[in-house]
Amino acid sequence: MEAEVTFRVDGTSHRLTVDVRTTLLDALRERLGNTSAKKGCDHGQCGACTVLLDGQRVNSCLALAVAHDGAEIVTAAGLASDGELHPLQSAFIRHDAFQCGYCTPGQIVSAVGMLREAEAGWPSAVTAGQPADGGSGGSDGPTVGILTDDEVRERMSGNLCRCAAYANIVPAIQEVARG
């Protein structure tokens, strides 16, 4: 079965007919020729396919294209505007926060989404006041202040890097987060 969908990807509108089994990731990569998001597992287990879907980070391999008609999608290719790299992209290069680069677009998009989540006050498992931290998670609630390195590590753990550039990814993100 096929269906027609429309997306805006990195600022450009596309209309296409997709097999209803087609994931958003395959629609981007195989149909629209945008290979910025990568396929590492196809099961929501590695984060290589992370894109911003209507402003939030998602694993695009877990999204069916047909379910997101009208969506606004941003990949790492779209974060760089007019040839200017996004500050996180420059920080990743300076800190050598990657080797093979296959997880990298996903890491960077994920970091953009993550910083927005933190800014909006979303707690993580290591945020002070969380049950995991010995807090009650109750009325005074968790507080997200300045992101500690442990916060960044926790919040970025959905993005696996087999080259294990983690010890460079954290300072690259912190450089941008702390301005």
């Binding site: 099961h43 290719a77 093979c100 680069g101 990298t104």
Partner: protein
């Protein structure tokens, strides 16, 4: 050998492909734009050993959009003795997950669905997939491998180990084991194959385009010139993409059956667990005998590992041992068990990663038995010359690494008593281990340099960059070899259109390829000087040179060394293990690019942590396959698992290894980490774990 003067080498240049990679614009194999591709999906065997008795492809073939269903009945006959590459050649099944059919279709969704409709019947036979059943004393399937991964004698013996053990004042005699590890490069094995009148074009994720070209050409009875392999960017490999495997052959076969049409084939993560190799599990016995002063009188290291029945692969888990410590009586021995399993392959520091876990754990046990500091024990057993080859080392800075690491790590404040440090509910311990890796040079590389009158140099070599930073580091090497600036160098790699190159592996990339580039640069400068008065002629000048022999190989033993330190916390109640701190000091010759080299060493150390605590392919003995075959169940270290990591190196000037003075940094980062962590776990808890990975169940009381 004179080493070239470093100007670009030693600079912490950003990766040349960084801006492409951070935007996702660097093209990996599957991303090469092609018109009107077809898609391939394999069917895998559901028995571990047996024979196919029937294949019904009617339902699959009837699906709209299916172009072909390949089985051993209709697949082209191949000409290869390599059991791994003999895809769809007979009705025999040699391991669970072996490719028994494949579907080519208009879309990936159709191919995958149709593959699920191919019905295969088998006559299964009893399988044997359990290495642990192959314990010494019950050795029907054990034999000495014909060949162990390259360049080292398999078994070594000197003196009389048994007699020395019998009379030793202090003895350690223990068995250590390591599990089946799977590489899990983040980019799975992918290919786009196209067959035309000229032959094959393969866009491929590989560690060596030249080797793939040769393997495919042979299998399909073609001249190598009819196989073009292109691999500009590779999303990690770690050994799993060195040799051609079944996936490449299958993709090429599929392309043959739809001529002119590109066929796209990406293994799923699950399929990579049975089709792309793994680090073989090992069972190792280490015997150490010493005087009460800790001076070793005997070192003996034996290992059993597994291979498949299709093809022999053996890694040398005992290889590092003869290079480490002085002792008059020494031995190493290695066996393989042939089982009904997929064929293992090279995986980061093949041999050293597993073997040094055993040896360096045993050294810690010996230090404790002698009441000596483990660093002091190693220093006391430092050899003057290579213990096996009896040659001087071209450079050996193990002791410097240990001392420098101890100083930086704060080792002197350590109370050696187990369970001495406690914070909250956490027991805290620290551990140390030595690391080593040989300096290897792989044969078969050539480089071409073309000088243009406008002052630029094109450097062509079919090397690959699997994330190691080859593109950047070789550009720096070429700049110094040509006495030019980095900006004048236009390095091209990853394509069999360029001169052949050895595969990326064995930490030998810069040595093998760099030496060829240096040789070409040397000849080019000489020709310019003698024939052209020192200026490049208007139509340019081109030179091609081979990697030269290294005349010093017979005079010196060449190895990198390092010291690994780790701090662990073990939760007393839950057994949870954390590693808040790792520190490594390495002696790896000249560092071409401190930024990318540091990343390689960091990555290796994280791999070491991952192999110590997280990774294990769990075999279902009933069926013979890895059950935890995805990234949710096969755990690799995530960001939150890695704490503070420090990487340092000792300045080394080694004029014997190669013209760059480099010794390689890709493997040594992982070596010794597992022992350092196991030693730290012992220090924290008083519990000695000799069976990796160290999981909490092994630390909790019964």
């Amino acid at each position: 050998m004179s080493t070239i003067t470093p100007r670009a080498m030693g600079q912490a240049l950003d990766r040349l492909d960084g801006a492409d990679k951070v935007r996702g614009l660097a093209r990996y194999a599957f991303e090469h734009p092609v018109d009107h591709p077809a898609y391939l999906f394999p069917v895998q065997s559901t028995v571990a050993v047996g024979r196919i008795t029937g294949i019904d492809r009617s339902q699959a073939s009837a699906q709209p959009g299916v172009l072909a269903v390949l089985t051993y009945h209709n697949a082209p006959r191949l000409s290869t003795e390599d059991g791994e590459l003999r895809v769809l050649q007979s009705d025999e099944v040699a391991f669970r997950g072996q490719i028994v059919a494949a579907v080519i279709a208009e879309t990936s969704e159709i191919a995958r669905h149709a593959a699920s409709l191919v019905r295969v019947d088998y006559e299964g036979r009893t399988h044997n997939v359990d290495l642990r059943a192959e314990v010494p004393g019950h050795r029907e399937h054990l034999r000495v491998p014909n060949e162990v991964l390259p360049l080292f004698p398999m078994d070594t013996a000197e003196g009389d180990v048994d007699a020395a053990m019998a009379s030793a004042a202090v003895r350690v005699d223990e068995v250590y084991s390591t599990p089946w590890y799977t590489h899990n490069a983040l980019e799975p094995h992918t290919t786009i194959a196209c067959w035309t009148e000229e032959g094959f074009t393969l866009h491929l994720s590989t560690q060596g385009v030249t080797g793939i070209q040769a393997g495919v050409a042979q299998a399909f009875r073609l001249d190598p010139s009819q196989v073009r392999v292109i691999s500009p960017h590779v999303g990690g490999a770690f050994g799993s993409k060195v040799y051609p495997r079944a996936d490449v052959v299958l993709a090429a076969m599929a392309a043959r059956s739809v001529p002119g049409r590109p066929v796209k084939f990406a293994l799923t993560r699950q399929q990579t667990f049975s089709l792309t190799g793994y680090r073989p599990p090992t069972i190792q016995r280490v015997r150490l005998g010493a005087g009460s002063d800790g001076r070793l009188t005997a070192i003996d290291h034996r290992s059993i590992e597994q291979t498949s029945k299709l093809k022999e692969f053996a890694e040398h888990s005992t290889r590092a041992t003869p290079s480490m410590y002085a002792a008059p009586n020494r031995g190493t021995q290695q066996w393989v068990a042939e089982l009904d399993v997929p064929t293992p392959t090279i995986m980061r520091a093949p041999g050293e990663a597993s073997g040094m876990f055993a040896l360096e754990s045993a050294m810690d046990e010996l230090a404790i038995a002698c009441g000596l500091d483990p660093i002091e024990l190693r220093i006391r057993n430092e050899p003057d010359t290579h213990p096996h080859f009896h040659l001087p080392f071209s450079s050996r800075n193990l002791v410097t690494c240990l001392r420098e690491g101890a100083r930086r790590f704060g080792w002197e404040r350590r109370d050696p008593t187990p369970r001495a440090r406690r914070e909250g509910g956490w027991l805290i311990g620290t551990g140390v281990a030595a690391a080593t890796y040989p300096v290897l040079r792989l044969p078969g590389s050539k480089a071409t340099i073309r000088a243009d009158a406008n002052g630029r140099y094109a450097v062509l070599i079919a090397a690959v960059d699997i994330g190691t930073g080859t593109r950047t580091a070789l550009t720096q090497v070429a700049a110094d070899a040509l006495q030019a600036d980095v900006e004048q160098i236009d390095l091209r790699l990853g394509d069999t259109a360029y001169p052949p190159a050895a595969e990326e592996g064995a930490s030998a990339g810069i040595t093998s390829w760099g030496a060829a580039i240096c040789a070409a640069a040397d000849q080019l400068r000489q020709r310019l000087a003698t024939e052209h008065g020192g200026t490049v002629p208007a139509d340019g000048l081109e030179i091609t040179a081979d990697t030269p022999e290294n005349e010093y190989l017979k005079q010196y033993a060449m190895h990198s060394f390092g010291a690994q330190f780790a701090e662990v916390r073990v939760h007393e109640e839950t057994g949870e293990i954390r590693v808040p701190r790792q520190l490594g000091v390495f002696a790896c010759g000249r560092i071409v690019n401190p930024k990318t080299a540091r990343s390689q060493l960091l990555g290796g150390m994280a791999w070491g942590l991952s192999m110590s605590l997280h990774e294990q392919s769990v075999l279902d003995l009933r069926f013979g396959h890895v059950v935890n075959h995805d990234l949710a169940q096969y755990h690799i270290s995530s960001n939150a698992d890695i704490g503070a990591v420090e990487v340092h190196w000792i300045e080394e000037d080694d004029p014997y290894v190669n013209p760059m003075g480099t010794k390689g940094v890709g493997e040594i980062g992982i070596v010794g980490v597992a022992a350092a962590i196991a030693n730290a776990v012992y220090h924290a808890t008083g519990i000695r774990i000799r069976d990796l990975p160290i999981t909490l169940d092994k630390l909790l009381p019964g």
